[in-house]
Subunit: 389 residues, 2 copies
């Protein structure tokens, strides 16, 4: 997705980027930009967080308010990226616009219309501001979890306005592409409607399901399996942060929740009908069949919606191919296999094991770059391994 | 959790078990029982599914309707386990009770009150029937996905009635414990109320969220991340099977859905209030603060409910310890590491890699039995590896 080096967006790549906020996203962005030679300045209200990001190689500290660096070089950013919590984003963006009158400024907040309205009301210079939202994250947070490849293959939405100058949009787009993201452009309202459906309402649903567990007998909670664990994983999220996000996107979240409640009402009516049928109080076979059909329709509608989600896990596109090998479950066998892989001159990108206690063999899935799969499979077979490639 | 060999439940272990239905659960049960020397007979309406289960080592075919085996041995089951789809469970259990007048009969269906009522209405011999529900599953289905350890550390609920003879309950309990499950006893209604909250309503919620994606612009769906993927993973489930399950447990599912809708109504009211506040049409600061508090309350309630789910992933209790080693990202280094592990005489139970493109090192997490972790870490350090154990 990254454009060739000679493209206009590559030429628009900023020379000096200031990242304000060195959590997971800010530090990952610094790592990604340093890899391609961009000069990255880092700033965080927490000096510990800022020092960690510098030690990890994400950039150098913004030394003083004038932007002169610790190394004495010129350090006026072409682009400022605000990676601050949602409730302070508009204020920090406005301050950075005032502080760096020649720089473009973007942010990475998950709600876009509200901060934009705040900036407009405050009379900020919207010509140099381009809202942004990289949809990238990890289970872990903070700079220590940062990865240079966090944005590779991930969406990065830009929400420019009619005021945005083309040069500012090009600079932000070039930066996002340079770290491997897939850039798309929406207006702020379309963005907020989209994230209501794919992020904010799923959060509410997870919380609603998890809340039902509060007063359940312990013996009942003990029956929880993988299904509810997946459905409620994000229910462990921070209430303060999510109040900011849901309140910040109340209009779109409300519309989607109303539509979801209509579907829920239909299912509840169907289930109530099935109960009445069983107890013989009302209805006949037709009502029962209609109720069953309503339940089937919802699950089928869920199938249809689920099938629209692209890819298998939403991570970066698969760049590797698995070579699957049967491995006897004895000490030394896995090492012998890995030795034979090394002997074939192939680098292992990833390796997963699947054991079954009831079977004498395990399976090792060895991930390699696509061009290495066939030669590796051949080399392993010639040494007696049973290989599925 | 499995009792010592001399305990009454061990003495109650059946000598011959007939498994009717050789899908994932039936075949896994056969594998688990064969490992401890139980004679397992297998029967499935699909001859291909039955043959696969036999080839996998889950048991031998039930040769003819009188139960004489292909090997000529006596083959009257002490226990019959019905592992059939939910809508036919009661009929198959009743048929097996009639066919084997001396055997105890159990089933593995996920709804218990309805089939019990059907059996009672049909005048089945409830003294020999003990309902059961192992809460175990995998992403994949069918005998080919079967594992002898599928039930290890997983809950297995028994729902005996006042009619159930103690010997029948002991036999079923002993069988479930013998394959490693944690047995609990509930009445059928308590079981159905529990699975409504931990399994059936999560399924409805996943379908409701996924259904919102149907008519979303493709550019919006493209923003889907890991959160909604987890929330909607089970939305890909089979509509026919889930109509059977939800209709079969309509009473408990309805009660839980009504309670969930009450919480949803509160959130919708709060979000609507926040929208009205922003557009200035109604309300003051107090109303806005109350609305924000209502949103915070729901997410906090979800935190509380989520925190009640035991364990991290709901899989079997962790039996291994990770030894984490820094591995230079060069061909041959992982093989050298594995060779050194083998040289230390330690068997690798599992191995996971974590790479970061922006770093010159990867991390290898080597899982070993607890007693091997410290000696392994010492051996690897003495050979120059950087180890976190």
């Amino acid at each position: 997705v990254t454009e060739p080096a000679e493209s206009p967006s590559r030429r628009a790549l900023p020379q000096v980027v200031l990242v304000v906020g060195t959590g997971l996203v800010g530090t990952s962005l610094g790592l990604g930009l340093r890899r391609i030679g961009v000069d990255v300045l880092l700033s965080d209200p927490s000096s510990g967080a800022q020092a960690l990001a510098c030690d990890l190689g994400a950039g150098r500290p913004l030394a003083d308010p004038d932007g002169a660096s610790a190394h004495g070089g010129a350090a006026r950013p072409d682009l400022v990226v605000v990676a601050a919590p949602p409730d302070v984003v508009a204020a920090v963006v406005r301050a950075q616009l005032l502080k760096w009158p020649d720089a473009a400024v973007t942010d990475v907040a998950s709600v876009k219309s509200g901060p934009l309205a705040e900036l407009r009301t405050a009379g900020a210079d919207l010509g140099r501001y381009v809202g942004g939202h990289p949809l990238a994250g990890r289970e872990r947070s903070g700079g220590v979890a940062a990865r240079a490849d966090l944005f590779v293959g991930r969406p990065w939405v830009l929400t420019p306005t009619v005021e945005s100058r083309p040069a500012a949009v090009s600079t932000v787009r070039a930066m996002a592409r340079a770290v491997g993201a897939t850039v798309s452009v929406m207006d702020a309202e379309a963005h907020d409607e989209a994230v209501a459906a794919v992020s904010h309402v799923p959060q509410v649903a997870a919380s609603l399901v998890a809340a039902r567990l509060r007063h359940l007998p312990q013996a009942a909670v003990a029956l929880a399996g993988q299904g509810i664990r997946d459905v409620t994983r994000i229910a462990a999220s921070d209430p303060g942060l999510w109040t900011q996000i849901l309140a910040g996107n109340a209009g779109s979240v409300g519309r989607t929740l109303h539509a979801l409640r209509d579907d829920l009402d239909a299912v509840i009516a169907a289930v109530d009908t099935l109960v009445e049928q069983r107890t013989g109080s009302t209805g006949g076979t037709d009502a029962g069949q209609a109720a069953r059909a309503a339940v089937t329709d919802l699950v089928a509608a869920g199938n249809e919606g689920r099938s629209r989600i692209p890819g298998k896990h939403g991570s970066a596109p698969t760049r590797y191919v698995s070579v699957v090998v049967l491995v006897p479950d004895r000490p030394g066998e896995l090492a012998r296999l890995l030795g034979d892989v090394g002997g074939a001159g192939v680098n292992i990108e990833d390796l997963r094991m699947e054991h079954s206690e009831g079977r004498p063999m395990g399976l090792a899935a060895v991930d390699v770059v696509p061009g290495s799969a066939d030669p590796l499979a051949g080399a392993l077979r010639s040494r007696g391994w049973i290989v599925h490639a």
